[in-house]
Subunit: 344 residues, 4 copies
């Protein structure tokens, strides 16, 4: 049965497995000091156009969010996020486990409402009682967002300016960054992100790796003794080479971007199929996730021939479901979707 | 200058100071095992009509909320509160510091919207992804709420039923409980609270004590090794007698209720003054806090003759301010307010 | 029955209760901004000979240790203490609850072995694997120690130098500081402590107050947003005046020192009684706690006529017990002890 | 240069990489619900002779220790470990970060002194003040220990009995379990461990996998909502198949045991080389790690031709160094070591 359940339902891009095999028996020291990690960091810094950046590889997305947020915030600070943000809802309280409040502001299609953010910050610091509250210390966004939408360059600049004004870091969660960067409608490049964000992460797990995310600190601001902080949070990989080899491969010959391009190309074709089938969109995005509305009957019928994700109930008779493409989606997969949706 | 800034701007009711003096040189053991604490607990259990209750004295409100919530929740659980709830906004992230998310639902005049609560819980546990989220494990309410409003007995019963249905405790923050109990419009008694809530606290600090709150566990559900948990959180008083004597006094000859009655009586007269002065209310309550709207000019002028609390900006020209009465408010104070507001 | 159980078995010195009564109905704002707290801080700074000091009042000893240590350490740091230190053993894991390791070094009669401390620090930072360990970030001592012993000025200077060398704060827990300062054998003054330590606290609870400790930051090093950090940890007193009035009284007319003197004078007489009775000492101190060895039979017999604290089992037939004097111990108490021990 | 630096200096056993490649494009759901994880769990349960066991795959050793300990302990509990235990010293304070004290008892060659453990527990619970201390709630051992030593079956039984007596779980850290199980001198089997321990983990990272450890709960005692607890701690792998495939391979055709056997066989030959070279042992073990004493000159000279780990300074002129074999060590490596050590 063809599956569009998510972008992490296969293993890794074959090129990554090949490199893991080729380098497998080479003796390398642990904990991220291996030559692959060193090389991968250099390639990422180059791709970001930011030689001063510090790069650190971690195992997964929740872990990266938790560690970046906890180690960059002061104890009394909270992180601002859209109320639909991943850290607000879908990380099992990991940010709070590390002691920090997630302060939510309203959003549109998953993107922080910039006006609401300005209002919140203005009100907060003019409130004479603010020292009795969790103090905002960072802005968290994801790009693409939980709903697959993208910030424009102009929005990103505005968010960056607000963060400058309030002296707080702007943090971008790039779990699906390869799709964001290769979207046909985006005007945001990796270099823009590196220039405008204080810290962000380049997602591996959902972009073709077996596991791994690359946290990038762009302003000479990686927390001191970061290895110790990472180990203290149970996140230090003994065989750091596993992460090093993967990111070294992803950032060789533009593989990371090529994998994003496949996800986007397949999503574009998927949208055409949905259009032709007359589907109602909940959110139609320019990235690799599409959210459509199905009646209960349609959902049941479709569920027999294709795998997709239930997103949320819309009313008693309708639900939102998500279809995701990835580096691994093939034209065969879409031919099958076409047969199901159109020839039905 | 007359002050209605809050209900904790004087020391303690003189009867409490008298008992502290009378018992001062008596030798008693520490950590809450003194005879005053034991006696006070018995009196509170009697007043609650709940002989099985377990009572524990703590120093302050945030501390009590943090400890009750943290020790009654499992690690993966969050606490549900109104988005205007004290634990949501005004406790400096203390709940999150202890590792738990505050899950907010909408409210009306400070009271949890019971329909919204039902909807949230129904949706949550029917979401196939709920294991990736902070799991609701308690409902937190305050009575009076942040806005001085009160739950009706029928609402409290409904909240209690919902908590039964989902097997989670109902927790009532009674920082200003004496006012709630003596309100002229309430149909909720201390016995009702003890019967319907799994845990609640009887506020001392804002109801006439120097410090101290009495946490009451009503269902044989005080967390095991509670003294150790309390000490581990830095909250165990060596001289437990300080709390014991105060609560023993407050629950002798109905002092706690008489102090609440004074706050209410004075608030009723205050409302008459505001009415006569033609004030616009933001929220007009039946407890000891009144919220009125003032123009910037009125606020400045009034501020020269009386102390009150800024609450929030309404628009560029108007603000909400709070006037609070207490056990210590006198008719002289209100005579002065009358002179200012009416004869002004 | 006469009691030497501890130094917190009575209420407060009557002068404190008197001031609480005199100032009781005066209107003052909350959270430590009251005029008594402000005045008390000035008096403490003067007594410390350190005008630049920042003083913050907290409710109890464990709370103060937990907050000072947690807010002054970085997340990856631990605190060094004697393996018999209060924070190592008798605070229910409060330091660990806040996320930090207590790193223990060996001791003599409760005092950190300075040679062992140097050895530990030298070894630690020369270990190539130290980034995999909790990194020492503070030295904690108590004065008097858990065993009532005192550091000499020369030892304190050496500890201070070591801390300078490793750029870590020296923190002194002064739960019983009034006894330390008034000991007949000490050469350490309050000014010495303020000069040599980066932070310390002046104990109130065990030195004549109902509750309260005064944390003193001597090097312009109070953590930023300290009120918020304190509230976040459930430790902010709404009626800060309770602490302010007490410390203002304790630091008026040298009351704090006079109370310490009484404890010391009574302890000196107690030692004479023990000597005359031929008691075996476990530790004979120059402060207000004395540790003697009793056989099981002696312990049982003595326990019928006087209250003291069991300290630890020495062997199957003998135990160490502690007798404490305080500001409240009278000559009548010691007359009774003399009757029991000598005329027995 | 030949390396005996550790057992995680190569990638994974080729059979694991082969399976990762073979299964790579197969569509599987995430978060550990893939068919490989399910199959691997069955095989592990069978190998443990414990059909009721619950198995959960995590990414690394510190992470596994932190999560098992934090989620099995109550908030007020600490974990008992040897003072040389991995969790005591070499995990950057991860246990304390999660809020629990590591309570240390003395050891011999890395193994908990069982007499000292009994003494500690007996004393603890007979101390009338124990509620003011961190309460022991688990015994942690590693097998092999930090020093490569092994518990005997009789010792393991005794530890298990003590834990039964005090109703606390016995937890065994098996980071290098394959070596322990294949040691020529051990009388402890995997089935024994499953029968005597309440929880343990089967190490992958140091036993031939790229990453991954298998936590095994043997007494129907996996903490409820474990997936949520794991995610909350940043440890849930989206592509759970990465762990599933690896453990499925390790527990097919006894690969896990065969890899342990290679490490042991090579260590036995290594000991012969050291013996022949007249090396002084610090600890001579029957597992894959050997600790020898070198003078500074020897260490420098040897360091030019082979990689090993500095362990600790013995005196100004001598150090302890560690040589480790692994699944990947070859006879060629040992031929080279022989040349270096003997033929010089």
């Amino acid at each position: 049965m063809v599956s569009f359940e998510s972008d992490y339902i296969q293993g890794a891009h074959p090129e990554i497995l090949k490199k893991l095999s080729e380098t497998n028996m080479e003796t390398q020291t642990g904990y991220g000091y291996d030559r692959f990690s060193i090389s991968a960091k250099e390639k990422i810094k180059k791709a970001c156009g930011c030689e001063a950046a510090e790069v650190y590889f971690l195992m997964g997305g929740t872990q990266t969010n938790m560690i970046v947020i906890d180690t960059m915030l002061k104890s009394y600070e909270g992180v601002i996020a859209a109320d639909t943000g991943h850290v607000s809802l879908h990380e099992a309280g990991a940010i709070e486990y590390s002691g920090h409040k997630v302060i939510t502001v309203s959003q549109h299609a998953g993107k922080i409402d910039i006006g609401a953010l300005r209002q919140y910050l203005g009100d907060f610091f003019s409130d004479s009682n603010f020292e009795h509250m969790s103090i905002p210390g960072m802005v968290y966004i994801s790009h693409p967002t939980e709903y697959g939408t993208l910030y424009t360059l102009s929005e990103l600049k505005e968010l960056s300016e607000i963060c400058r004004e309030y002296s707080m870091p702007l943090y971008l969660d790039g779990a699906r960054l390869s799709s964001a960067l290769m979207s046909k409608s985006t005007d945001v490049t990796l270099r823009d992100i590196a220039a405008l964000c204080d810290v962000f992460y380049i997602g591996g797990t959902k972009c073709g790796a077996l596991c791994g995310e690359a946290a990038v600190f762009t302003k000479n601001n990686m927390p001191e003794r970061f290895l110790t902080l990472v180990k203290q949070r149970g996140a230090l990989a003994a065989k750091g080479r596993l992460l090093g080899v993967q990111f070294d491969t992803l950032f060789t010959d533009d593989l990371y971007f090529r994998l994003g391009k496949n996800a986007i190309d397949k999503a574009e074709r998927m949208k055409k199929i949905f259009d032709e089938a007359g589907c109602e969109y909940y959110i139609r995005t320019d990235t690799n996730q599409q959210f459509i509305v199905l009646s209960n009957e349609e959902m049941e019928k479709l569920g027999k021939r294709a795998v997709f994700s239930f997103w949320e109930k819309l009313d008693d008779n309708h639900s939102v479901v998500r279809f995701a493409t990835s580096w691994a989606t093939t034209d065969d997969d879409l031919d099958e979707l076409e047969r199901i949706m159109i020839n039905g």
